[in-house]
Subunit: 145 residues, 3 copies
């Protein structure tokens, strides 16, 4: 029997905010925390969002060398030198402010039966080269059927 | 009492389309218009979308020099020279057609109690270096609980 | 009369998975398959997702030369040489693992009255330079009102 207090097939919104310490790390693996948030949910979409102007979210393989490769790529695309108009904090900090233009801090993932439908080698990774602010937040939002 | 005509906790869809004139501007701040669209809504997600093949949407700080830094980055990654196969309009216009590959024209943001959960220094910015077409549209879509 | 078995104005979730063969192709046009999935739906958002660590999704014009231009850009940003720590498979394969950091495999599009609201020149394109794995999947998820 359909219970009007819990309409079937309707989407519900749930949201929470994680807090992170990125001290000494350019990459923080969020995969398990996103999976945990989605567990016991049904089908839907989960949104991952970093409310910061110098961080991004990437889907990438971890543990096989791509972290060092991404560091090299970012140093090449966004060299930490004196070229930036946006200057404060650490040398080359202007580069940090362009990172989220190339690596968006907003990411949506599909969820089926409470399980995030990531590929085998995909991890949800906060990318953050900013050494001036290690305290980070990440908001998770679930729309479920 | 739960009113079946307006199911509580269900998501509703609302959508609207903004029109913009980007004449002489590479960056258009959409933050206030997105915030206004979400006001008086509940919890959910807002989707921002530019239905154009030469524009992107970035989350970035405005007013501290990053606009000039992004201009420099884009000129470096997508130089406006004669290299492009896609050639029509202004010189180097082929570069404009690659911009949305690096800066997606699709962006999702979390909303809690009608307020977009942007970080302090995040603005929603249309990035558009295409001088051939200053008339732009941006579609906003809200899914709320 | 409102039928509680099909709550009006509520969002429903639908999802499916496409299978693709990318053999010999860097770019696969998904536009028609996404449009077909959304047809006979109402208003909402469609999410396109590639559960692979070496592929991305771009919105771009096809058929006017931008494919070759994107190949040139990616070779420039992610040269297929020996620089990568992540080394296995084809030479330069480490580059493939950085592609989804720059071109996200997650994309959301607005749908109004069953029609994806793409711009005239926008196509939904799987970008995949990885020659080692031509069998690809793409998950589509619809949240409709």
């Amino acid at each position: 029997m359909w219970d009007p207090a819990v309409p079937s097939d309707c989407v519900f919104v749930e949201t929470t905010e994680l807090t992170l310490d990125t001290s000494g790390r350019h990459f923080v693996d969020l995969t398990d925390r996103v999976a945990e948030f989605c567990r016991s949910e049904g089908d839907g979409l989960v949104h991952v969002f970093a409310p910061h102007a110098t961080a991004g979210l990437a889907l990438m393989e971890l543990g096989s060398g791509s972290e060092a490769d991404l560091d090299e790529l970012l140093e090449r695309l966004l060299p930490r030198d004196g070229r930036y108009r946006h200057q404060h904090g650490s040398p080359g900090h202007g580069a940090d402010h362009l990172l989220p233009v190339l690596i968006s801090p907003s990411l949506v993932l599909p969820v089926v039966d409470g399980r995030v439908q990531l590929g085998t080698w995909q991890s949800v990774v906060l990318v953050d080269l900013n050494e001036d602010n290690p305290r980070r937040r990440v908001r998770l939002t679930f729309l479920r059927g």
